[in-house]
Symmetry: D2
């Protein structure tokens, strides 16, 4: 079975694995207070052009999400997000388990816009029963989104401006950030560090064994963040593993270079389906592609390839997702392209 169903079916990128092996015999203090983490933090601050930013490492994306949200909100506040947002649908209520309501907004291509945020905020304020309603306390988006789409620089700028005008932190989930950075360079790390109060540089899905680097430009969220990390069980004892991996993937820009390669292969797969006359479920330019297939094609490809069934559309059609990642083998993609050619 060749795996295209997600971006974490693989091990680590070579450069990351090599760094883990080479650093294995080093001794460091625990909990990411070591010099390897410090070096990775310095690289991240430099790449973000944000010398005052704070960087915290955690193992996974759900941890990053629930930690930032629980640290940013007061108990009676909720987080605005697209109804398709990962925190709303695929984290088993992790945010609610910290006591906060997720406040879903209708999405367009997996995205929400500044006007929706303003409307939600103003509707709350204007309601005579406002104290009986969860207060919108922050905004969460992901980039790329759950539908593989990307926010433009202007869209993020507008979201950020609106959030800050209304006193709400703006948080970008970057679980697949590398693929976004590679596909749309206008949204780069310095820009994100400028417009976000918090975002993270996803590692798990972009070449690391595991790890997300949370960048906090908000001193308030940062101040006691390590207490939150420990309280939620997210403080890795051998924290240096996170520093070692992030340093390895970031220092020579492999994070973006390898992601660009993955994006390219995903787009080849998308084109192969388009050539067969398939419709897209969501039109994307990064490492996830969403296409609508006849059920018999699904069955045929499913014998050899793992991919995600996204939505049963009825009438013999199914929306599916194929992902590449930084470790995807060229020959696996070639095999898939060839089999797509034959599957219709």
């Amino acid at each position: 079975m060749l795996h295209f169903e997600c971006d974490y079916a693989c091990g680590a990128a070579d450069v990351v694995l090599k760094a883990l092996v080479e650093s294995n015999s080093e001794q460091h203090c625990g909990y990411s207070e070591d010099e390897r983490c410090e070096r990775a933090r310095a690289i991240i601050r430099e790449k973000c052009a944000a010398p005052d930013a704070h960087v915290h490492f955690v193992v996974g994306g759900t941890q990053a999400n629930l930690l930032v949200i629980a640290a940013a909100l007061q108990p009676f506040e909720g987080v605005l997000c697209a109804e398709t947002g990962h925190i709303n649908v695929h984290e088993t209520g992790a945010v609610e388990a910290t006591g906060h309501k997720v406040l879903p907004l209708p999405h367009k291509d997996g995205k929400i816009c500044a006007a929706q945020v303003r409307e939600a905020y103003e509707k709350h304020i204007a309601d005579a029963s406002f104290e009986h309603i969860v207060r919108p306390g922050m905004v969460y988006v992901s980039h790329p989104t759950e539908l593989g789409t990307l926010y433009t620089r202007q869209e993020l700028q507008e979201l950020s401006d609106t959030c800050h005008e209304l006193g709400m932190p703006f948080f970008v989930d970057g679980a697949r950030l590398g693929y976004g950075l590679a596909a749309m360079p206008e949204v780069d790390l310095p820009f994100l560090a400028k417009v976000c109060d918090a975002f993270y540089i996803g590692g798990t899905k972009v070449g690391l064994l595991f790890g997300e680097a949370i960048v906090l430009t908000s001193d308030r969220i940062h101040k006691f963040f390590r207490y939150h990390i420990k309280q939620r069980g997210a403080m890795l004892a051998k924290g240096r593993l996170l520093g070692v991996q992030f340093e390895a993937i970031l220092k020579d820009d492999d994070y973006v270079t390898l992601a660009a390669r993955a994006n390219g292969m995903a787009q080849e797969i998308k084109q192969a389906f388009l050539n067969k006359g398939c419709q897209l479920y969501s039109d994307t330019i990064a490492n996830q592609i969403f296409v609508i297939l006849p059920d018999e094609v699904c069955d045929r490809l499913g014998e050899k390839y793992a991919f995600s069934v996204w939505e049963k559309l009825g009438e013999g059609r199914t929306a599916v997702r194929f992902c590449t990642n930084v470790t995807t083998a060229r020959e696996d993609v070639d095999a898939l392209l060839s089999d797509i050619e034959k599957a219709f």
Copy 2:
């Protein structure tokens, strides 16, 4: 600086690192539903002589603790534990953050006994205001304890019998279980699987990069446990890393063999201090030793060695902890032994 302050200053044991490297190019489905995790689960069930036990893998000990406790308790129940218990003092209120009170009991050498459990339970039941009081809902102990001590087989049997008579799950935190198994073979894995409703085989402190294998003999706690894991942010995307590591350390008994070696070196260090006339703060036979040192000896050794300051005792004396672990280098221990000789 040579690190003896904890058992996670190191990387992985060679056998573990090798397995990670060799399996890196494999493709697996995510979230520990892969065949590598299945193989590790099979080994654990076999070593526990518990063919019906359920095995779940998580990254760290605080996760394991809060997950088992949150899954086992009803909202109004609390968990009985030694006042020195890790969940009571060193997890930033992780258990309380899930809504449950930790119910501390006085300890003796870091341990609690069956009679204390019964007394707490009966006191609750007998109180006319029982509904106004947190109900004791389960018992948590660690083996080895926070003070490095070990429960005897009989003590654990009595705790288990009392818990089960009173309808409470019995949970053993095995963050350092390897050292316990090596130091006191009468408490082995089959015995633990027999007396516990839940326990875990600690990996982070016993040769893995990270990972704890939670063994559940309670079908009730197991039934929806994966929902809990995801909700608390503890489900590792590349879950196979946990399976690969546990298989590597367990399959040829390195888990215990390497721990025994570490215990031996810790005991040499203890003996070196005893030879100098030092008093022990806690008398242990595994990989942590606790000794009371004159402050000037602390300062002298502190120049070259990292160790834990456990408690300032006043009058120029400090209780300190030295730990070894499965990767501790013989030459580091020799250096320490020699410097102890010279430090007084």
Copy 3:
């Protein structure tokens, strides 16, 4: 200002106030364990034709909702309800504060149906990522609903059957139950006790100073319910006040008789607006009426009457709600009817 904006602008019904005064000098043990509460429980069980039902009293509806839900669900479960449901929109995230997600379903006239429940459940079960998604664990409806509408006997029966087939408790919020019982007798207390695992007989909005009587036919939810009550701050010290009030309003059927009178007056108000050619926002037969008014009529009536602005519809039109309740004075309604006549 005459108050029609809600059903709790008043004091208690005379019969209730009288009972409070007469019982004031009695001495009782606290926390609703007294004989006055026992008498009220006996009356409720009898009126429900449910000799084995358990009755718990709390002060308010949000308490009743969060208590039943927190007691019924496991941590990773959520509660299905109409998107307009009180727990979803008007309780400041009280359910989420207990850790549970509210799972909103599209409504029709404020109601959801059995087919929606089944679809939500089956979609969850069928999803390959089901453990990453909040599990639908129970169903919440209110009767009357937030839009003043009523479920038919058949609709409730179908919801109940589906819930029980799928293993989910069925919970009916009866904050305004009296008005529902009076307006649609086919849904009576014995029927509710038969189809619900939990429901409550609302007192605050139906003639009491305060108080909701939670009826639990589920032994599982009941078993430790008093611990939950205390833990959430919902156990009234002078609990007998709840027993005294419920006995007073229930024993001679004033609960329904007085509600019927209130319904009648509300319907007169509705008819007065219909006579003026107004459209209804929601068509109701109980004590809340929802009508769409020209903004200038709103302004004119607003000088003398308090009513709820439900939704600004634009183009000079506003949906508003008028409520009557068991203490509404005939002369206040007459004044309003006369002023409606003049307001257009």
Copy 4:
């Protein structure tokens, strides 16, 4: 049975009941935003000599405690209190259910002192693992305490000074405050408003049917407090009931006058036991008295009087509590005094 087991076995003081009856036909907006609550707030501010203080009303003491604590603390913070504190032992983990650890300190006569607070804070700060430990975030004491004792003006001043020096809110639970004010006038309302960030004037145990008036001098805790109240199910729909009752008991100082009478009767009971040679379990000057009785005296008095069994001391002796309250009848006390005379 004559009830001396608690201070809430009764109804309301006459002046309170009268006000409830007289105001019953008034119409008011809900949720304590009405003019009756405003009048009560004005009286409280005046009696506290705190024109800028904020006053919120809730129904019960556990609500008041959990609300203030949840509003004041950050998620990783805990609340310091005496190990005998109500929040630590008699609220079914209500504070933990909001996610916060209660941090118990050894008590002396039910009290803690400023030096203990400082020590706890400094120990936390000095610990190398401070981020792994719950941060002391506020201090809770009750006045009178659970053992019926009272803090002196100086003790409270020192606690307050220490809290504020260390940046921690200082919170006084005044569930029985009236009895404290009457028994030790040096601690009066203006003083409490000066030294506390939050305290409450208990009504339930001091002549009201129910109700606690929370006084917040901290703008930070106040700012969004009504959201908290609603979220925790503590916002009374007919909120004017709280305003009416507090106005009635406070406006002519009945709150203190009636409490003084109750204190006097409690002290007579204490003296009667002392005359019989009994030892006190806790020596008090307010409305609760704690005395150690031979078991046979307990049995004899228990036939006619309800009182609290506080602790079984063994060897045939039991510590018990007798309470009076503002509605206690003179003849009931006389009967008890007479029966004490005969019981030995």
